[in-house]
Symmetry: D2
Subunit: 357 residues, 4 copies
């Protein structure tokens, strides 16, 4: 079988992409003389101000990793014996190697979902645990926006979850590793961002930078600033205090300047939509329209093998022959066109009878 | 009192310095297209190879922070109920906000020292705890090289400590946040580095990058590679797995190329020596010759206040009017000259009678 | 409605029962002069020997509580980042208030079951997690025998689970808070006990004493004695080292003498079977035959309320009007007869039309 | 050398003693029919009331072990990154196998003392750590009463420590494993007990039962009842929730009835005083007058060996030939007389020239 030249950039993950030129430029600009470590510098102060402006509220702490950001945000809300309610497929439960249990000492109550999204009834049903000394006490609902399955909570859905949580005395954490993509999906405005975060009752948000064009860095936005009182101690304890913090702050300044964060997200979402259009009708391809920057198509096993050798991507559910294709801030029209060409060639090369699905 | 123009770069800390131009260039070079995340990239592989060549042994894992590196290294050696033996003033005990206790769940047995350096007898004296079920079990000796007090263990001293530790079944960890400066002090060669690490029986070394001209990044070198078997799980759990790892690896590649790490360290050590020469005989200044890149002078309180307003630095021991002056990879001759001028002016402006020491 | 005199002993729980007279006698006998603390006494030595004889293998450590025993057993098998696989309804997951997460720092991978029993396929399906640095590593399968739902694993079922676990490099823990009742159900012999524990590949067993007629105490039997090497340190660390250990050991000596543990379990199982016979055909009562000493009947809500006011018992699943009736070592024929009388009266007093089910 | 018949009860430890007859009688009395588990029983309620009467304040939670009691009390006061200030020789630091670090995740700031007693200045000197994000935050001062060295804080000393702690926003925990002996030493009245606990600003007290004639059990008295709000969850999580709690409560009821706890403590203190009188002037014996129920004599090494073979006791400081002799609630006049005879014989048998001190 003949496949075209593979795309310059793979569809493996948005964290396989490099850094946006503006981010690199900001790093270079920040590399000017001396600045006190641990955040006592002008870049960190400017970054804090920009986040406050973005949400009209809150206090922000920078970390290096998303796991670190999630742990910091959760730790600020948890007392001993408290538990975190989350989706079974959530990153904190499935992809952070037990950080929550190890560092927080907290139980994760992981609930099944069909689409990665928790429902308010699932929170309310935990009511019986409260006050029961034999059970860890549900104290925080943690949701991911956009979810690990590429779905997006509407503002109303988040608000309903927050209401359910708050009415039981629980707090709400949002893992926003891809909050930019969710914002792009929900209107692509600052108002959209606020509608499903601060306005929807989210207490603490992890605002992702790495997957959206940064070299590395995340921001924990304590939308309820009272929760930030001890955050700087916690950040140090969990190993996430950046020494030369200006270099993380400068990257975020670049991202928050002229809405770069949203433009990159709108672009990567658009590239996913274009990819969907190119492959949706191909024989043997079963794929839903993307809400953000990821597709989860099912394909014949042989096609998967051939395509992956040609341009790498990850499995999602091996049993279902389902894979994940993900766009990034730097995915180009040409990348999409070449990848569609490749998928087209591969799917047509296998006569239906040959397929082992 | 008239003080000259302050130095362009302060003597506050080596982590107040920015990044070396070669490091920035390496970041830019690494920002090329897509590369798989979490270390499955050519930069990380090259970096691992360079570390292996440097020590002639070992397996290396990159982290973002020094605390993270120390926790990773220690975690790989500790079983439940194990304790870490360290100096009271060690970074893991005094400056990591209880990370070891929180994340490792381990007791730190912190021992007094006069110069930041543990002695073999202090290790051997813990013998009685071994096998006593009422006491946490000493399992790792952790030393800092160079120490938090700017002193340096000789290779023989490290070897003697390792022998004491190993003879009791304990392991040796070296916090090498400034291992480059120590190497510079002990000869400034790769052989010197090896002499007090791999050749002296150190099992795990945290090799510092941030304080030596990087944007941010540390390397945990498992000199006994058998200890690295589960390191990648541990790194993820403690929140220290870099997503776009190529950007940490590229910085280390720059540092390890043409001995940049040693040249920068030789330079900052030399600047400290020059600063010492410039201030050692000033009235009211009590200071010892630096072994690496830090001085710990005692000065009259009024002089401290005036100087700090002019060019910031940190207190070390307020009760003793002792402060810390630290040079960095980018400290220039001019910075030293100006700082010496300032100290000279300040010390001479206060007649002895005026001084409140 | 007229209800008869309630039973002298309720059917609330086997831990509502007191201590067997032989256990009290043993306490009195052990209260003789001085004996060194922490297990260096003749009772503890005798107790260890009796457990070794019982299983023909292993090393035993005494604790005060079942949760403590489970934590000790698991801790001996877990390394950092390891996870424990268990049933969602298991005591360690649902009734130990997050002890495992807090003290072990370990993730519990809690799997759904219809009858409280894990299946080998559920273990084998976790294969994909092994070696994935983003996920906690399944390392121990923990099962409860008899289960929290009153079901019993056959020896073959345990062996199949052990095989699945061991083939993946995992260990097997059995929470035997009611292992005596399970033994009674599976034949009521020492051979039966061995068949589903040591012979079936269980590595560590928590052997319950409290629910089976003791004042308080549990035994952790390391059937694979190599796992006990550091158990005495672990026990102290988790706060479970009994000071005057002779008093825990003496109780177990009583239990292990002349098969008291099995006689009490056979009795309580028999009382549950008798209770089942008495209520199975009553109108509105939906109940399965007990395998051990607990029944989980569904009853009309009004009947539940009336009966509970008369003789207390616990809800099991409120939504299903399901309750739990449990017998104990001291439940008498008369207790059962009176309780059956009460249930009979209550169910007949409510005409079907009146029932709110 | 000829030694007399050894004493019936050794001077090894108060936890080598058995249980007081009244305690056993209370266990037997409590073994009556069924009672709900986990503290919902009349004995636990009565016990809580007795403790409230004793202190005129507070809320009490029962545990099995002293380590468990200490962990529970401390956990109720600690937030993440908080540290506990304690004496280097304190039980929580030196004899609890790292429980605090493992279960609480907290750093212990262990300070040197000459007599086991912390001083207010030592607390005040930690002021600099507060607000420093690089250091664990001192939050609780934990003292032992009577101390591990057999010394006793006066009420004024405790009050001064509490003032120092509270003025810095810290709390005060008292490990009262031998609080009864301290009370006996300070007057032997309930007023004496209150004077150095609730009246002196102690927030949480661990009230020891095991070493004072119980089979096993400790009470955590939250003198500031607001700290008890989540205590029952914490107790379960740390594995210290007694299932058949009536049996722990009943023992305390016996101890608190007719001041048994104080009578036993007065007796054991008196026995230590009598022992001191018998040995103070013997050749080669260097011993201070006991404040409570322990002596720490230094003796010639050969004498130690001979005596220990004859009637066991523990070393205290091998380098100083110092041992510990401890009386208990059941030490008899005859035990003391025989032990004095033995020490007398042993010390006289060694001519000074023979002694290897």
């Amino acid at each position: 079988m003949h496949l075209p030249t593979p795309p310059e950039r793979s569809f493996a993950s948005d964290n396989a992409a490099g850094a946006h030129p503006d981010v690199i430029a900001a790093l270079i600009e920040a590399n000017t003389g001396h600045a006190l470590a641990y955040g006592d510098d002008r870049w960190t102060r400017e970054c804090s101000g920009l986040f406050h402006d973005l949400f009209g509220a809150g206090e922000t702490f920078l970390t290096f990793t998303g796991t670190g950001g999630n742990i910091l945000g959760l730790m600020a809300m948890l007392r001993p014996v408290d538990a975190v309610v989350c989706a079974a497929g959530s990153h904190i439960n499935a992809d952070e190697a037990g950080s929550a249990e190890r560092i927080l000492g907290a139980k994760l109550i992981d609930l099944p979902t069909r689409d990665g999204k928790l429902r308010p009834d699932q929170v309310r049903e935990l009511d019986w645990m409260l006050g029961n000394e034999h059970h860890a006490q549900p104290a925080v609902v943690s949701i991911t926006q956009s979810t690990e399955l590429g779905t997006v909570y509407t503002a109303a859905e988040v608000a309903a979850l927050s209401d359910a949580a708050h009415s039981l005395g629980m707090r709400v954490h949002m893992d926003g590793a891809r909050v930019s993509n969710a914002t792009a999906a929900l209107g692509g405005t600052v108002d959209a961002l606020r509608s499903f975060t601060v306005d929807a009752g989210v207490d603490v948000l992890t605002f992702g930078g790495t997957k959206n064009g940064m070299v590395g860095g995340e921001a924990v936005v304590f939308l309820d600033a009272s929760l930030a009182r001890r955050a700087r101690y916690l950040r140090k304890t969990i190993t996430q205090l950046p020494s030369k913090m200006r270099f993380v702050a400068a990257q975020f300044i670049a991202l928050l300047t002229d809405d770069l964060w949203m433009r990159t997200a709108l672009h990567s979402n658009a590239m996913a939509a274009r990819l969907f259009e190119g492959v949706r009708d191909l024989p043997g391809v079963d794929v839903s329209a993307p809400e953000v920057n990821s597709l989860f198509p099912s394909l014949p096993a042989d096609v998967i093998d051939v395509l992956r050798d040609w341009s790498f991507f990850w499995d999602w559910d091996v049993a279902k022959h389902q894979v994940r294709w993900m766009t990034a801030w730097d995915t180009s029209d040409d990348d999409v066109a070449r990848f569609v060409d490749g998928v087209t060639s591969a799917t047509h090369s296998f006569a239906p009878g040959e397929l082992t699905n």
